[in-house]
């Protein structure tokens, strides 16, 4: 009797889940796919097109990591998450990487058991209102009702802004961005507030995009970036340097079109980036051509921005803060050497 019990306990103990200890890189390589958490549909960032293919700057980032780690940008499994599901999905190990326009804040970085790996879009919170209200500034929004998406920094910024300006407001909080814009369309609220980049996307979803305006005020800093689980420094490094590699490629003029000819370049920076010299890939635990693979198969940051949110997309957003540092923006890659 005793023996059976001990055997039982031992048997169960041997089933102890070991996922906490295995490195994310090993797991991804073993699975052969990267589980990437994206949004349920934010145009320009992560949304499916008419053929059901995921497109967006966050989607391109997932593909970049897959290209660096697995050598194939198609080996990504996209997991659509609402704002309030996203961090739990990452904590629980359901996804390996979260690229879902998430704002980097102190609380999230320090108390959720997560690490932000960088910033792939510098954003700020803005307002979208009906043109017929005749409002030109956010300062005129005293007493207005807002539609907001639950579980976002937006909710907190709104309180701060109205408190600072001694104004009153009412908030109606929805689960997804689709419901939020729906509430606005039906007149439940006077304005939608969200990251400015998303407002341009929401504007396109209106029946008549010209009936609404985006107000000029930006009331917060929203640095959006990819997130990984805390405690796996190797994986954090891979994601962080993937971000830097796509920035470095743009800065050095290496694009998907010319990357093959750039392989013969004598520029030492380009040689280190593309792995023809130096040990960047090896140190990350990846192949020497990791960055070549990213640029060749996905592109550099400038290309991603242009086709997803910039002039080459319906959103038509200016580079602004998201330009390279030497062109008046904030995008700056740490040197790859």
């Amino acid at each position: 009797m005793k023996l059976t019990k001990i055997a039982l306990i031992l048997g169960i103990a041997s089933l102890a889940p070991s996922f906490a200890s295995a490195s994310t890189l090993d797991q991804v390589v073993k699975k052969g796919t990267l589980n990437c958490g994206v949004s349920t549909g934010i145009p320009g960032f992560s949304a499916t097109d008419s053929k059901g293919v995921w497109k967006g700057i966050d989607v391109d980032f997932c593909q970049s990591v897959a290209a660096a780690v697995l050598g194939d940008p198609a080996k990504v499994k996209y997991i659509p998450l609402t704002a309030k599901e996203r961090f739990t999905a990452l904590q629980s190990g359901e996804i390996d990487l979260l690229a879902r326009s998430s704002t980097w804040t102190a609380t999230r970085d320090t108390s959720l058991g997560l690490n932000f790996a960088g910033v792939n879009y510098y954003d700020g919170q803005g307002f979208l209102v009906n043109k017929e209200l005749g409002i030109t500034s956010a300062k005129e929004l005293d007493g207005a009702t807002f539609c907001i998406q639950a579980g976002t920094t937006t909710e907190l910024n709104l309180t701060d802004y109205f408190k600072a300006n001694k104004m009153a407001y009412k908030a109606v909080t929805y689960d997804t961005s689709g419901q939020t814009i729906d509430g606005f369309k039906k007149g439940r609220c006077d304005a939608v507030t969200s990251d400015a980049s998303q407002l341009y996307g929401l504007k396109l979803k209106m029946d008549d995009p010209n009936s609404v305006v985006v107000l000029p005020e930006i009331i917060s800093k929203e640095p959006l970036g990819p997130v990984v689980r805390q405690g796996d420094d190797q994986w954090l490094n891979i994601v962080r340097w993937t971000m830097f590699a796509i920035l470095e490629a743009e800065e050095l003029g290496v694009s998907s079109a010319n990357v093959d000819s750039q392989l013969k370049s004598q520029n030492p920076s380009i040689k280190r980036l593309l792995g023809t010299s130096g040990k960047a890939g090896e140190n990350l635990g990846l192949n020497a051509d990791w960055a070549y693979s990213i640029v060749k198969k996905v592109g550099n940051y400038g290309e991603m921005f242009h086709r997803n949110v910039g002039k080459g997309s319906p959103l038509n957003i200016d580079r602004g803060l998201n330009n390279l540092w030497n062109q008046g923006g904030l995008m700056y890659s740490m040197p790859i050497r």
Partner: protein, 394 residues
Amino acid sequence: MNNSQLPPSANGFLNNPQNRAVIFQVLALMFVVFLAFYFANNMFDNVEKRGITTGFSFLDDVAGFGISQTLIEYDDAGSTYYDVFIVGLLNTLLVSIIGIFFASVLGLLIGVGRLSSNYLISRLSLVYIETFRNIPILLQILFWYNVVLAALPSPRKSFSYLDSVFLNNRGLLLPEPIFESGSSAILIALILAITGVFFLARWSKKRHDLTGEEFPLIKVSIALVLLAPVLVYFISGQPISAEYPHLKGFNFKGGLTIIPELLALMFALSIYTATYIAEAVRAGIEAVPNGQKEAAKSLGLKDHVILTKVVLPQALRVIIPPVINQYLNLVKNSSLATAIGYPEIVTLFSGTTLNQVGQAIEIILMTMAVYLTFSIVISLMLNWVNAKMAIKGR
């Protein structure tokens, strides 16, 4: 039976069926406890390994987000997550109580209507039940929300009644009573009137038992409960005034607002749950033997007296148990409000708060505890009512 005929081991302690039963139950219990302990331990281990903050200290942190309906004082910039929890809990409670009330009234009417001898009424009741029972509740909530929002005008074009009640797509706006000093006398009058009605009811029942004479209890009670406070209101110099909603800027200011999310949720939950209650009522009434009704009729009782004095008291015994289930379902279904942004406990606490704080385990446990408590309380209350209604052993 002769023991010596059995093999020696069969006499052992372990071969006694009673001992065996106890041993296996103890073993099974140990196994379950061990499993629970093992998983809890594992959970805490993993949470700690990943550097996720644990504990309930987050409840004292400032929440810092707006909520569209708060029954207690709530300040966007100063209230804590604990306040958010209470606000969510009360909002769930509010929609559940309103929903249970309307579902019961509607369910009773439709259930009785289903058995009506009037062809139109019984067919309409049948159509109502079969329609609303067979559409998922989430769809009904979304439907009513869209209907409420689509059918109502914008604030500047509100429907208004006497310039004091307004209806628009921001909700139903009512004048808010302001209680000034001296208004407590009215409350006292109301309480006295209700106590009076209670004693009156006992007296009239006693008198009816003794003499058989009917006392118009309901009419007198309503008059008493209504007149007493109104009389005191005028005697004490009208200490209650009203604050009327008025249009200012975008929206109405002042007054009480019933938000469209609450209206939609209330409609959907009551209409859906009423179908099940109606069926329970019908089953209960049909369970009363026909002889009872015929006997009552032969005594010369009127139809409505037969229903209220003979049929319903007996039917209630059959009706109450399934209705308890429906009440519990209604409370649990109210969590679907998260689809339309009604700020109840799931939306506020395991939605927004969870995302701001990130402590999934604590928050989900607290939310589960809320529903568990609500359900157990409802269940206990109705079990008590059921025990009161049960046939007394004679």
